[in-house]
């Protein structure tokens, strides 16, 4: 399945998907509400069969006031991949947990929560993954400020 075919298949799957520009691989945007159902559709579709969640991360678009969740799915049978994005409100980022769809999402979401502060609904064990439990703030946010962190003293 080439890029256009894959995109059209995915877009025909649900009207809630919209194509995403400026990516090097087929990408769609999905709404946050009902993300779990959409992902289940992608996983269980016979021609798509995205059974591996390779990447789950987030991007902090501070100017737009959004946090974009990025999921890159790979099919272990067809070897094609798809990027799914979901835009969250930056000031109150809450998203549904995908840990019921892919087991690994549980820990990837913990990492995103740790570094970006995205809260996941129905997550079995939502706590920080890499930093201490009492860490203040979420370091990968663009406006994260830390006294400990030093700026480069010269160029």
């Amino acid at each position: 399945m080439n890029r256009t075919e894959l995109l059209s298949t995915v877009l025909s799957l649900s009207t809630e998907f919209s194509p995403r520009e400026k990516t090097d691989r087929p990408a769609v945007l999905a709404p946050v509400q009902g993300l779990t159902d959409l992902m289940l559709k992608l996983r269980d579709h016979s021609e798509l069969s995205f059974d591996m969640l390779t990447v789950a991360t987030a991007i902090d678009w501070i100017k737009e006031g959004k946090i974009e969740l990025v999921y890159i799915l790979i099919s272990s049978t067809f070897k094609h991949s798809l990027q799914v994005g979901a835009l969250l409100d930056r000031e109150k980022p809450v998203a549904p947990s995908l840990s019921s769809v892919w087991a690994i999402a549980e820990w990837q979401e913990r990492e995103i929560f740790d570094l970006f502060g995205v809260r996941y609904l129905n997550h079995p064990d939502l706590r920080r993954l890499l930093l201490e439990d009492d860490w203040n703030g979420h370091p990968l946010r663009k406006d994260y400020v830390d006294d400990f962190m030093l700026e480069r003293p010269w160029r």
């Binding site: 990516t23 591996m52 087991a103 706590r127 920080r128 203040n136 994260y144 400020v145 006294d147």
Partner: protein, 400 residues
Amino acid sequence: MEITGMTAATMSNTEVPVSSLDERIKFFQNEPQSALATQEYFVNMGPQHPSTHGVLRLVLKMDGETVREIIPVLGYVHRGMEKKAEYIGYRQQVHLTDRLDYLCALMNNWVMADAVERAMKIELNDRILTLRTIFAELQRIQSHQLWWGVFGMDLGAFTPFLYGFRDREKITAIFEDTMGARLTMNYIQPGGLMYDIHPEFPRKVKDFLKYFKPILNEYDELFTGNVIVHQRLKGIGILDGKTAISVGASGPVLRASGVSYDLRKSDPYGVYSKTQFEVPVGTTGDCWDRYIVRMQEMRESIRIVEQLIDNIPEGPTMVMKFGAKIRIPEGIYYNQMETARGILGVMLVADGTEKPYRLHFRTPNFNNLWSVISMAKGLRLADLVAILSSVDIVVPDIDR
């Protein structure tokens, strides 16, 4: 300390509850039902423990010798690499990847360099690609040699460690001639290679391959054939293909579970499409299969290097100017490759400036580690050590 985002006070007031490690441990705690019941206890394995390969901490709930629950606690080498990456240019990112999974530094360099090259749409000549492929395969052998040695050590045999390192040192010497460094090479740069290869390089590689082939059989005699090893590994830590896919395991861990998914075959990069090799696949997905898959991979890597080493094409080894600033057009780029431990992915979010807006490393060990949890429950402590070792964890790769 300045506080951004959610303060500690507001955190507890939000609708989505946040747990902590102590709560998690309490969650698994249960009192013995009667006076005769065994008392389960928690024990910290790590962060300083000889067999966690670095500073991984596992909180184990144990019943005597049996492991009931595993709570991995990460972040003991979380260096904030992804934050750091937002402050430095694309060329400098390569040296960060050295420190991800330091046992396959060259392959990590390649992923990063390739991601930048693809985003900039730079065409490389065959010489660069061939050399990169050779280096990657040599590094795969090197990484597996170290794994073999450490695996032996974790099972209690100290000698394999020494033999593995003895032969690893030979590849290290070859690398040092060309790259000037032993472990963190920073050699594969966006646009080519840092230097041309050492003139003696092909000969030395051929010498090494000639030396190493019989040594592999010796490894087999010393360790693979040993009846104690069979007893320790067979049927231990079974990871079925479905679970492996669902936790996103990759590399030898996934292939040992019977899923033939190797980016070198399914999505060839470098000059892999021009070479003949097989992807070893296991059947049951136990420790023994992971062991055998890795041993086979070393043989396949030798095959690949043998095919390439004799006819390295001519040409320049750098197609970009070193001083030139690298700017990547706006967009999200994701590039992945097969390192010795699995799929290493780099997600670049470029905003048109010299520095990435966001850089994310999808590291193989992160996913592989979680497969350990499903494997080791209900087995004994010694099995946990064997499983951890057979999955070949490198902790800085997980924590980044």
